[in-house]
């Protein structure tokens, strides 16, 4: 048993329930590990279609994460620091994709950017076709991943407070300089973990992509869609690819948490 000095206030029975909760998360992953056809593992995950799907997933997730940062940082700033009517409403809408079933998100995107959609017709006139393209995948991933970045960053902004910014402003720094030199460095860990979460969510995106973007090897068939398809014919390949997805997700999340834990609260250089 772990002995710590002082009172840490956790009754023993809490550990029992926590263990059940932990098992619920870990057991399915362990069960999947047991199903992996290890001798065939490398050939299964290096088949042409698997590599195409993995490559597409990594590329689109990176693009979505970049888009999330570009759009999410201003959104989080406005939500955390701004004051305007409808702010609460905006926050609710930004958080909506977190609880929305992805298929619903896909349908909503279809009715917006699809050929018959709200913006689709104007886009088509402008020569831009989003349906069945890799852009549609990125759009779907950004839609579901953006809230993760906004939530993380808004939390970081709120807990960081704005004292340093106030000081910088009294010293004559313009708002953009304050943002660049003080605010963003202060919330960088929050931004980084938000970006990592967005990446992980983009990587796992399935429902919205399937509904909105379609499924074609190398263009729109990301790893989760490939797993869904492989499951029809080759359970071994589906399990092997699932493991790859889990491994990438664990690596990405582990990487960010490892770094977060080792970093001390940010000191602002004068």
């Amino acid at each position: 048993m772990i002995k710590r000095s002082g009172y840490h206030g956790i009754p023993r029975w809490i550990y029992v329930i926590a263990a059940v909760g932990g098992l619920l998360m870990v057991l399915p992953l362990a069960a999947m590990l047991l199903r992996v056809n290890w001798p065939q593992f490398i050939p299964l995950i290096t088949s042409e279609s698997s590599l195409a799907a993995l490559g597409l997933s990594l590329r689109t997730s990176a693009a979505s994460t970049a888009l999330c940062v570009v759009l999410g940082v201003p959104l989080a700033l406005v939500l955390a620091r701004g004051e305007f009517p409808g702010q609460r409403l905006l926050r609710s809408f930004v958080l909506l994709p977190l609880v929305l079933p992805p298929v619903v998100g896909g349908l909503a995107l279809l009715y917006t950017f699809g050929r018959q959609g709200l913006l689709g017709k104007s886009l088509e006139l402008a020569g831009i076709q989003i349906a069945f393209s890799t852009s549609a995948v990125v759009l779907a991933q950004t839609f579901v991943a953006l809230p993760f970045l906004v939530v993380s960053l808004e939390g970081a902004l709120r807990s960081a407070g704005s004292r340093y910014e106030a000081v910088a402003a009294t010293l004559g720094a313009r708002p953009t300089t304050v943002l660049r030199r003080v605010t963003l460095p202060l919330v960088l860990p929050g931004l980084a973990s938000g970006a990592v979460l967005s990446f992980a969510r983009s990587l796992g995106e399935f429902g919205a992509t399937l509904t909105f973007a379609g499924s074609l090897e190398g263009i729109t068939r990301t790893l989760p869609l490939e797993i869904y398809l492989q499951r029809e014919v080759d359970a071994d390949a589906a399990v092997a690819l699932s493991l790859v997805l889990v491994a990438v997700a664990v690596a990405v999340v582990g990487l960010s948490y490892g770094r977060r834990r080792s970093s001390t609260p940010v000191e602002v250089q004068p």
Binding site: M25, L98, P102, L110, G114, R115, Q116, A131, F132, V144, F148, V151, S152, G155, A156, S159, G190, S193, L197, A200, R201, L203, G204, E205, F206, G207, L210, T211, A213, G214, S215, L216, E217, T220, R221, P224, L225, I227, Y228, L229, Q230, R231, E232, V233, A235, S242, L245, V246, A249, V253, Y257
Partner: protein, 266 residues
């Protein structure tokens, strides 16, 4: 603050992982009608696992069966045939399996879970589905290969995609689809929403979609006839009732229900 943030982050991560894959299955439970009549020798409950394309017809057939045999209850579960085979081999309590292709029935037989031999009860062929206005003016299979036509098909890994490949070869027309979906439903969805100019689905799917799509039959479709087999599952606890339900499906009345929905007879 750090603890709360960490907790929130952990929750978000698990949400992200949980959302990464979702499988769908739908089930319908129908209530028992009436009580057992003294004349009927069969009674009890059975669960029928049927391919998703059989949803409308099997709901009708189960209803008719329950009316004809008071005291019986038929529970239906619909999903893709390969999902259903996986579920049955993993111990799902099914009494009957109705597959959309012979390959998945063979998989179940390989697992020693088919009682006797399967009976072929219906056939289905491909048809071109276009949005109501037929914006790309499709009138033949060859039209699907015209430049600029957005065609959606099933991926070759699933039965409807394998049939598509066969028809392509028979017609001598190679398609370059903009998307290869993993189910007929997804193909149909792309057509009904107007995203695609045309899709290749089964005749019964076009019929079930009503006026949301227009069906265009083509002669090459008879080169890839899909056969639907049905069988009692080996682990069934009520094989007598299961056999009676299968007899109902293969009866003249059963055939009529299937033919009205666009299916052919084997």
């Amino acid at each position: 603050m750090s603890a709360t943030r960490k907790l929130l982050a952990a929750l978000l991560v698990s949400a992200a992982l949980a959302a990464s894959l979702s499988a769908c299955a739908s089930g319908t439970t129908r209530p028992s009608t009436g009580s057992a009549s003294p004349g009927s020798s069969i009674s009890g409950e059975i669960t029928v696992f049927a391919a998703a394309s059989l949803k409308t017809t099997f709901m009708q057939l189960a209803k008719d069966f329950e009316v004809q045999h008071p005291g019986t209850k038929v529970t239906l579960s619909f999903a893709g045939s390969s999902d259903l085979v996986t579920q049955i081999t993993q111990g799902a309590p099914a009494d009957i399996f109705a597959s959309a292709d012979t390959k998945n029935m063979a998989k179940l037989a390989d697992a020693d879970l088919v009682e006797g031999t399967a009976t072929n009860f219906a056939t289905n062929v491909l048809e071109i589905a276009v949005p109501p206005g037929n914006p790309a003016s499709i009138s033949s299979f060859a039209d699907l290969a015209k430049p600029g036509v957005k065609v959606v098909t099933c991926a070759s890994q699933v039965p409807c995609g394998a049939a598509t490949k066969t028809v392509e070869q028979a017609a001598g027309t190679a398609l370059s689809p903009v998307s290869e979906e993993s189910s007929v439903t997804d193909v149909l969805g792309k057509v009904t929403s107007g995203e695609a100019d045309a899709g290749l689905v089964y005749v019964s799917d076009v019929k079930a979609a009503g006026d949301k799509v227009k069906g265009i039959p083509f002669p090459e479709s008879d080169r890839a006839i899909n056969t639907y087999p049905i069988a009692t599952v080996g682990s069934s606890k009520n094989k007598e009732l299961a056999a009676a339900f299968i007899a109902n499906v293969t009866s003249e009345a059963g055939k009529k229900v299937l033919m009205d929905a666009g299916f052919g007879t084997p």
